[in-house]
Amino acid sequence: MSVIELQDVSKLYGFGDAANVALDEVSLSIEQGEFVAVMGPSGSGKSTLMNIIGLLDRPSHGSYNLNGRKVARLRPNQAAKYRRDTIGFIFQSFNLLPRLMALENVALPLAYKGVGLTRRTRLASDMLARVGLQHREYYYPWQLSGGQRQCVAIARALVNDPALIIADEPTGNLDSAGSRLVMELLSELHKSGHTILFVTHNPELTRYASRVVYMHDGTIIHDEKTKIGEVAQAVRRAMYNVSRTTVEDDLAGVSALMNAVPSHDNASTALASKPRKKTSKRRGKK
């Protein structure tokens, strides 16, 4: 059964001549248990897509079925309840509440659901144990390392047993050890049957994914299923073909990877003309 079913979803900002198309008739369907990596340069519409899928935003046009229910036209309060019960968010900057302990942070979605204090403390505690932080329950976020903070955030995302987990560059603010910790954890969740959608600029991380989606200028330009443990085809091609981004590209926020995206003729010719160099360490800038 499809968890997510997007049909011709568009998002426009502004009016008339100044209108800005952030998403251009995107159709996407994600099945139960998929682990999807979304890639694309800044401004390609990834965040807008995540916001719409995460019910933080409403599409201008098109239909969106989440778990078989039409959710494209929800009112803000209904959307809040859907977010609470069916979606878990993981952010690049963790977004834990600094004045609450790890345990309280994890228990917060349950509090908004109206679960009693004793029960939600127990559930939150179980969830922290599941992400390997049972000894850090009474730590405040500033007392934890980056990787641990992200694990707390993952526990928070999981605590309501959501149908879908959305992670927006979950490793963007982490060092390699932290990234590894977080990605292994997400991978485990995937194995236990969770549906996960994550945005990344790091092509290495597509090894964990079962499907990779590329976006450019508000549309999905490439969508491929990959074997777990392997870098996606398109990405691999990019990794071995692309030289490096110029300073101008970096300043413009365009990563080398995105120049390498296939099926755009100018992109592929650009790739061919440049000397080979590994870019695996390079991460896209926002």
């Binding site: 995460g54 933080l56 809040a80 977010r83 509440l97 509090a111 659901k113 109206g114 939600r120």
Partner: protein, 412 residues
Amino acid sequence: MRSLTRGNVKTAIASVRSAKWRSLLTMMGIIIGIVSVVTVVSIGEGVKRQVVSQMNHLGKDLITVRPGQLVNRDEKGTITGVNLFSGYTTTGALSDKDVSSIQKTKGVKLAVPLSIVTGGIDVDGKTYNNASIIGTTPQLPEALKQKIAYGDFFNDSDENQNGAIIGKSVATGIFDDDIPLGRSFEFHGEEFIVRGVFEPFKNATLSLDTDFNNAIFIPYPVAQELTENKAAIYEVLAQPNDPDQANTVAAAIKDNVKSNHGNQEDFTVLKQGESLSVTSNILNLLTRLIGGIAAISLLVGGIGIMNVMLVSVTERMHEIGIRKAIGATSRQIRNQFLIEATVLSVAGGVIGVIISLVINVMLRIFTDIEPVISWQVVALAAGVSLVVGIIFGTAPALKAARKDPIEALRHE
């Protein structure tokens, strides 16, 4: 839902404590308002109790006649208003003739004039101006139901001698002696001997009556002699034979004195109960006046809270974004900020009540006023600060609740 509220209260207290100075300054308006309301009301309450206990002591049947028209009455004789200022300036005086007609009124057991003699007294070469010198007749202790602690009062036979009976404060204040019997002082060039000391009067502070503890009583004829009959009678006390007939007797006194004054009512006949109502009328007026000022202070305090909460909402926009993203509804966000504003103002109210208690103790130690803080006043203070918090917390809370989650998340 209740557990969420508890969490909100905890968050609110943490956020209030994390910015101690700002919170304290924010609460200042509420604190000042609550302190003034509680203190004023408790002083009023304390004075009222003193008046009541004085009235119980004197008995409800005591009738006082004073010059000037102090009160307005309707046809039934109920007091409708008090002439705070004109009452004392309206000309009209009581004379010896009035005293004797009051005495002769049917049903009057005794009538005692009280006249003020101006001037200071000399004791051992020093002059004191702070005691009131009152000329009166031997029946005064009976009319006031007041005992003499030491010595005795003058009687009909020695009414023309220069003897004086003093109040407690005069004994300790001027003579520096608990029992200054036999001591002498000079007044208007004549020497007076202290022959008695009253037991302390239960006087009500702020009431209309002269403080008898700070008075020196000399015989009425002597007072008239000293001033060549110019000492003004400021009050005549009358006691009816039958306490139940007090109303009838008061009416008869009024008619008699009125006929002496050419049918003009430039004097006031008050029963003891009415005397109380005059006092409480004045107190109520004062309480309302200061209450109004306090209300303005509460308003200003509320606006302060609103201002700080608006700043707080902007500062914590990112937090609002996180909370909304993980599933908080607008209503839950609104409640969180509403509770925070309420915690701020109720904390101000609690601090205000504590300061009022301290002021209360101070007043009892350093003044004669005995303020009474009743639980009603404390409940009022708590209620008012709660309401102020809710009213002035609503706008910021709605601002927070209506924020778009994406925009709020982008806010750092």
